[in-house]
Symmetry: none
Subunit: 240 residues, 2 copies
DNA sequence: ATAAACGATGACAATTTTGTGACAAGAAGA
DNA sequence: TCTTCTTGTCACAAAATTGTCATCGTTTAT
């Protein structure tokens, strides 16, 4: 559960404060006060999360984030941007460059910690190529096939590429509710500009497929939140 | 539980003394010896509490407090005034400017610490994604599910989005009374324009759900104050 | 005791959210 | 090129949620 966090911040007072906070919270902390130094550090140790100030002496935090995202080794490390600016366009370009979250100065250490926790918790393990078997469904990422077991018989479903990825993701993270935006980011990709409602349509298509084998209950709607792949029944509240 | 405290005090000896004490008590400390310096610091970091000397070289502590109160980001940070004067009218104008408490010099570190603790205790903690289990209820923010244990059986409740957030908040801050306005701010959001009474209705809906599993006693009314989620039984008012 | 304040409750209409079929643009393949 | 599939968006239908109100029951104060 302990994670290593790399703090890139050139104002030493702030750097120190953050470091203290993080250490108290049980994280391992690395500090750098420039992009160059940060680069060197991440050559040796790959942190679990990077806390990155927007303004750095040698390179803008934005550029640095882009660099990190560009390299295979570092591209999946979550980044939290620390920025003094509050303009909307900055938010967008910060997130666009791959920041997972951002915190504007002045920030409260308490809030920062909460966000760090949130990002780390959100960190979902990479999807592997393992065969997934959940709720009578069997999905094989290698052969791209989905089979359903109904009454002892195995039936293959013809799933389109997108539905396959969607189902794959949902099965890999079953029981957990995913917002439409999360699904777009994880299944379609981080940078797509697609309507949230599109997810609904694909969920619909997925359900249609699962209907053929009587498994449509596996994909559940959580009103106001998102969707969930779940083996447990969705409980009807007893009526009054 | 650890909090960040900004100490604004121009007498270095005192500043140091305070800082030492606070650090010993496990707080994170930032120091400034002028309003100007304090302002710079609060551009970067929002402390959980500000310890503010009445007399500063550049600006009176009073004015500084007013400034803090005037800005959206800082207006909710509790302030403890440190003053050498003991006149009643100073107390009043100090509190008027938004100080939550004040301590007169000379003070005992023990007293200062006690007051700091008291002020910080009022602070409402953040909500996290942890599973909450209270009074036979189990709420899981990740799966968006609420289960109740009745007679050894687990029953899932179908909770709507708002009731879910409300229940989440109440459970996260159990045993504490929340006014309707506080609930609106924390559950609905800060800037909504919704009637206070609406909270009643949602409390009612929540209770209705909990009734199904015989847990309606968990949500209690505190007349004239607000509502409370409590495991302890509501006391029968013993008359005097 | 009576009035005033406060909270509980049921009803309801407006709004929000989700389901669903259709469609056109594009991709892939023959 | 001509099909065939896939996919993102839209419009509308269906369903659930939610804020407000009117009313009623309780407690508190005068």
């Amino acid at each position: 559960m302990t994670a290593t966090i790399l703090v890139v911040e050139d104002e030493l007072a702030i750097q120190e404060l953050i470091a203290l906070n993080l250490k108290k919270a049980g994280y391992l902390v690395l500090c750098a006060d420039s992009a160059e130094q940060a680069r060197k550090m991440s050559n040796n140790v790959l942190p679990d999360l990077i806390l990155l100030d927007w303004m750095l002496p040698d390179l803008s935090g934005l550029e640095f984030a882009r660099k990190l995202r560009g390299e295979e080794r570092t591209k999946n490390i979550p980044i939290i941007m620390l920025t003094a600016r509050t303009q909307e366009h900055d938010k967008i370009s910060g997130l666009d460059a791959g920041a997972d979250d951002y915190v504007t100065k002045p920030f409260s250490p308490r809030e920062l910690l909460a966000r760090i926790k949130a990002v780390l918790r959100r960190r979902i393990p990479e999807i592997s190529d393992d065969i997934l078997e959940v709720g009578g469904l069997r999905l094989d990422p290698v052969t791209y096939r989905v089979h359903a077991e109904t009454a002892g018989k195995l039936i293959e479903l013809s799933v389109g590429p997108t539905e396959f990825r969607l189902l794959h993701f949902l099965m890999a993270h079953k029981e957990r509710v995913h917002t439409r935006t999360q699904l777009l980011n994880r299944v379609w990709g981080d940078h797509v500009f697609i309507e949230d409602r599109t997810v609904d349509v694909h969920i619909r298509r997925l359900r249609k497929l699962l209907e053929q084998v009587g498994k449509e209950h596996l994909v559940q709607t959580v009103r106001g939140a998102g969707y969930r792949f779940s083996v447990e029944k969705q409980e009807e509240s007893a009526e009054l």
